[in-house]
């Protein structure tokens, strides 16, 4: 197999986080990575915890359940919020990757028009959907705490 042509990532992790003067899609990219890593960390623990039910152990429910502590509830809410963003932004990324909503190729005539301008309505629509899902989850979360 031929070797891949590689370029040094001299900025390292800062290369991901340094949004600088990029547009909002750049910040969505950073947030997508952060939420993805957060969801993965939770998911790996979630597999271990929920697998205990095979032996009749339910750490997340019942009187004085270990995972019923407020810190875990807040963590769970953060994971839900991360999912709302990551899922809807992920749909946008897949659509763009497959060539949808990027516009048709045009002559590069000054003042140049970026493809990002064509993509932005899709980004905004996905963020609105994520916000609606987040709002419904927030209602459920506070409703659960009040019970």
């Amino acid at each position: 197999m031929p070797e891949l042509k590689r370029h040094d990532n001299r900025l390292g992790i800062w290369g991901w986080l340094g949004g600088g003067r990029w547009g909002m899609e750049r910040y969505a990219y950073i947030l997508h990575r952060v939420t993805g890593l957060g969801i993965l960390a939770y998911f790996l623990m979630h597999i271990c915890v929920t697998s205990l039910r095979a032996w009749g152990i339910y750490l997340w429910t019942g009187e004085g359940a270990f995972l019923d502590a407020p810190v875990f509830k807040v963590g769970e809410f953060l994971v839900f919020s991360a999912f709302a963003f990551h899922a809807f932004n992920g749909v946008r990324l897949i659509l763009v990757e497959l060539g949808f909503a990027v516009g048709k190729p045009i002559e590069p005539v000054y003042p140049y028009k970026s493809s990002l301008h064509v993509q932005r309505p899709l980004f905004l629509a996905m963020m609105v959907l994520a916000a609606v899902f987040f709002a419904a989850g927030s209602y459920e979360f506070w409703h659960g705490l009040a019970r």
Partner: protein
């Protein structure tokens, strides 16, 4: 070419997760709004009785296994892509790939065993739980 194939699987797994994890989130976190698949609507979605009712359903058991596989591939491959961007040495990349493969297969084995064991316990130990779950899935409760 191989990486292109993995990347395509990564996107396909993302869409599968969107559907299955979306359902999971609606059931678990919007339960008081939707009461979807709640065999015991008077109790929270995470209550043991509701957990066991879902475990008794073959649909939920199979969906957990598919979600587990898709989630592990999507998550661990995503982590691999992110870490590889840090310009690791080829030997380190190989070691990381092997480690992620072992972790992924190990957790998939554990989760799959647990899903089927919990299904067996819930469906076998208490036929009433299974019948309530079945009624709920059919939209009768």
């Amino acid at each position: 070419m191989r990486e292109t194939k993995y990347w395509t699987w990564f996107m396909a797994a993302g869409l599968l997760i969107l559907a299955l994890l979306g359902l999971h989130m609606v059931v678990m976190h919007l339960g008081s709004l939707t009461h979807l698949f709640a065999a015991h609507p008077d109790q929270p979605s995470v209550a043991q009785a509701n957990s066991q009712a879902r475990d008794a359903s073959l649909f939920f058991t199979l969906s957990y296994v598919v979600l587990l596989g898709a989630g592990l591939f999507h998550g661990l491959y995503g982590l691999r892509v992110v870490v590889f961007e840090l310009s690791l040495k080829p030997a380190a990349e190989k070691a990381l790939s092997a480690l992620l493969l072992v972790v992924g297969l190990g957790l998939f084995g554990l989760g799959t065993y647990a899903a089927f064991a919990a299904h067996g316990r819930a469906a076998g130990a208490s036929p009433a739980v299974a019948s309530v779950a079945g009624a709920s899935l059919a939209g009768r409760s």
